[in-house]
């Protein structure tokens, strides 16, 4: 049976009180900060691509609440992450240093993901168990099931995060991965970031049902649909799912209803398939930063001066990461042949 969380909330802020979720005032302020960092970092990468300094950009703008809410439910360093290409804010939230993330956009020699071999936004970060993705979507789902299977086989209580779009949920990988994980009750959380579009194809042309998570019942695992623009609601359902997995009770399929504020990628022009009015409406009604800001003000956790100060602090971090990463050396051409096979 699917659980539906905070979907009909009429509020323009957030549906839950953070104290009831075991979060401190500082935690909530930190969540806002991380969301803002994700947004500003993403905007910077977009500019770098337009300037010709990065070849490719794919945006997570609009999805920050879902990513931050999810990230905080995991234990970085212990748990494993198989994110998809819009999960920039999640990577920042679990602790990948902004400078190191920026190296990926500049494809520098010391890029921790791959030394400039992998595309931007195909994250990889060994110290925090972040596994690099390949470009065919949702292929990370069977792998995540295998990663979690290894944890279970060794009797460890680490949990694996894997995310994908609702577009990726149309692939056979989704079915095979979820079925396998449910059969073996492995500790993995399947997170569908449903932003309504698979590149240009709207969700109603991708599936005949309203919710991806309604399919969970067919696999024998809990399914949860949550307002992905509400960082606290996402945190609440993710925490419950992660706790279940850690107790050995198997996987959960969580669907975050979210929005994509930008085009699919820097190779896409979304004016061809959606109106500017739609974007304006999403920005006015669905921007997770606006919602979180309203909550902080409403709860008396922050004032205008604080928001200004945070904005300044975040821009300093983004500027520092950009300037530092740009100054790092490029890979040497002869290193193109390295790492194909193990080399003693």
């Amino acid at each position: 049976m699917t659980e539906y969380v905070a979907l009909d909330a009429q509020t323009k802020s957030l549906a839950f009180d953070h104290r009831e979720l075991g979060l401190s005032d500082d935690d909530v302020r930190r969540m806002y900060e991380l969301m803002l960092l994700g947004r500003r970092f993403d905007e910077r990468c977009e500019i770098l691509q337009r300037q010709g300094k990065a070849h490719f950009h794919i945006s997570g703008q609009g999805q920050e609440a879902a990513q931050i809410g999810a990230a905080l439910a995991f234990i970085p360093g212990k748990d494993w992450f198989h994110p998809y290409y819009r999960d920039l804010a999640l990577l920042l939230a679990i602790g990948v240093p902004p400078r190191e993330l920026m190296l990926g956009w500049f494809a520098r020699a010391n890029d921790p993901a791959s030394g400039g071999r992998q595309m931007p936004a195909h994250w990889g970060y060994r110290p925090l168990n972040v596994v690099t993705a390949s470009s065919p979507v949702s292929t990370q789902i069977p792998q995540a099931a295998g990663i979690a299977y290894a944890h279970k086989l060794r009797g460890e209580d680490a949990v694996t995060y894997v995310s994908f779009g609702e577009g990726g949920a149309s692939k056979g990988d989704f079915h095979e991965g979820l079925n396998f994980a449910a059969i073996h009750k492995v500790p993995v959380i399947f997170v569908c970031m449903n932003n309504g579009y698979a590149i240009s194809v709207s969700a109603n042309k991708q599936m005949a049902i309203e919710n991806v998570a309604d399919r969970a019942a067919g696999y024998g695992m809990p399914g949860v649909v949550v307002d992905g623009q509400d960082m606290l609601a996402v945190y609440k359902v993710m925490k419950e799912a992660v706790d279940r997995a850690r107790r050995g009770e198997g996987p959960t399929l969580v669907e975050c209803k979210t929005v994509r504020l930008k085009a699919h990628s820097s190779d896409d022009d979304d004016r061809l398939y959606r109106s500017r009015e739609e974007i304006q409406r999403l920005r006015a009604e669905k921007d997770p930063l606006v919602r979180a800001r309203a909550y902080l003000l409403e709860q008396g956790l922050a004032d205008d001066a604080w928001f200004e100060e945070i904005e300044k602090k975040i821009m300093e971090i983004v500027n520092d990461a950009t300037d530092w990463a740009e100054a790092q050396p490029l890979p040497r051409p002869e290193d193109a042949m390295k790492h194909v096979y193990w080399d003693r």
């Binding site: 690099t132 065919p136 979690a148 991965g177 079925n179």
Partner: protein, 323 residues
């Protein structure tokens, strides 16, 4: 030294490696309770339990995909896909992931897994009878092994399981009952080493898997007519070791390349190109390829045998290059 079937040699390698290293586990369709479609894992479910001999759903994609994940997370999966025809559905995991984990991670993660599958035929028609070793042997980052003898199957599978890179290990269904000598004491064979299986001075025959046996039979029969063939086995297709082939060719000046592949863009084309590159001045006759004709394999036995190469085709080819 014991006589052992190819099947038992593969099984012995699996059991020994699972006993040696608890990170090694097997998964695939029918591998557990039933003991494998070709009975290779028979009895292993009772020996190692369901956690390490794991029956899976009919999901080739997740068998390979989950193996990639488990390998990145420190295990040594041996995934089994019944035949290469079905392994086509696993190729995304193998080519887009397994082959690239090390590279796209700049060497931080590795993917030490083995995908075992089969080549073979026998009145099973077009979509049960294909062999695609050339598809995967083309891919940097993968290793591809196709052993022809029980000893090679044993020694190379053990090496494959211990190898830090992903290996596709292709057994041949016709060979499971073939017997051969396998030393009693444990041994490993180096991946990427070709071997002369029969010495001769007149023609070099290059073959692997089932065609190795057809080549040896052809060589035996030709020897009665005074023609001495040198038979070179290439049990590893990637990385390919052609030094013994080139050395042999520099002695015989003639080569016949025998595979079960379709004519065109096959493993044989790569071997021929390398012989031309490394021994052009030694060429006394055009290199001759023995292959399957480019046709989906038919079901009827007479049709099927007409569409599959054997020792007679090899003998004809040898006589042609000697003409």
């Amino acid at each position: 030294m014991a006589q052992m079937t190819y099947r038992d040699a593969v099984r012995r390698a699996l059991i020994e490696e699972m006993e040696r290293d608890e990170r090694v586990f097997i998964m695939g369709e029918e591998v557990g309770v039933w003991g494998g479609t070709f009975a290779v894992t028979r009895g292993m479910y009772d020996m190692f339990g369901e956690k390490r001999v794991r029956d899976t759903p009919i999901s080739e994609l997740v068998i390979a995909g989950a193996a990639v994940g488990a390998a990145m997370n420190g295990l040594r999966p041996v995934a089994e896909i019944m035949t290469f025809n079905f392994a086509l559905l696993s190729l995304d995991a193998m080519i887009n992931h397994a082959a690239k984990v090390r590279y796209m991670f700049g060497g931080q993660f590795e993917c030490p897994m083995v995908l075992r599958t089969t080549s073979g035929w026998g009145q099973l028609s077009a979509t049960h009878s294909q062999t695609f070793e050339n598809y995967v042997a083309h891919v940097p980052g993968l290793k591809v092994i196709m052993p022809g003898t029980p000893a090679d199957a044993y020694g190379l599978l053990k090496a494959a399981i211990r190898d830090p890179d992903p290996v596709i290990f292709i057994e041949h269904t016709h060979l499971y009952r073939v017997r051969g000598e396998v030393p009693d004491e444990e041994f490993l064979l180096p991946i990427g080493q070709s071997n002369i299986k029969r010495e001769g001075r007149d023609v070099t025959i290059v073959a692997y898997s089932r065609m190795l046996h057809e080549a040896l039979k052809a060589a035996d029969e030709l020897a009665k007519e005074g023609i001495e063939c040198e038979v070179v086995d290439i049990p590893t297709l990637r990385p390919l070791d052609l030094r013994p082939v080139v050395q042999s060719f520099k002695k015989t000046y003639r080569a016949v390349l025998a595979t079960e592949q379709w004519l065109g863009y096959g493993v044989d084309a790569e071997i021929a190109a390398q012989i031309y590159e490394h021994a052009f001045d030694y060429l006394d006759a055009p290199i001759k390829r023995v292959t399957a004709p480019p046709v989906p394999l038919p079901y009827n036995k007479h049709l099927e045998l007409a569409a599959m190469p054997d020792k007679e085709d090899i003998k004809r080819a040898v006589l042609e290059v000697l003409r």
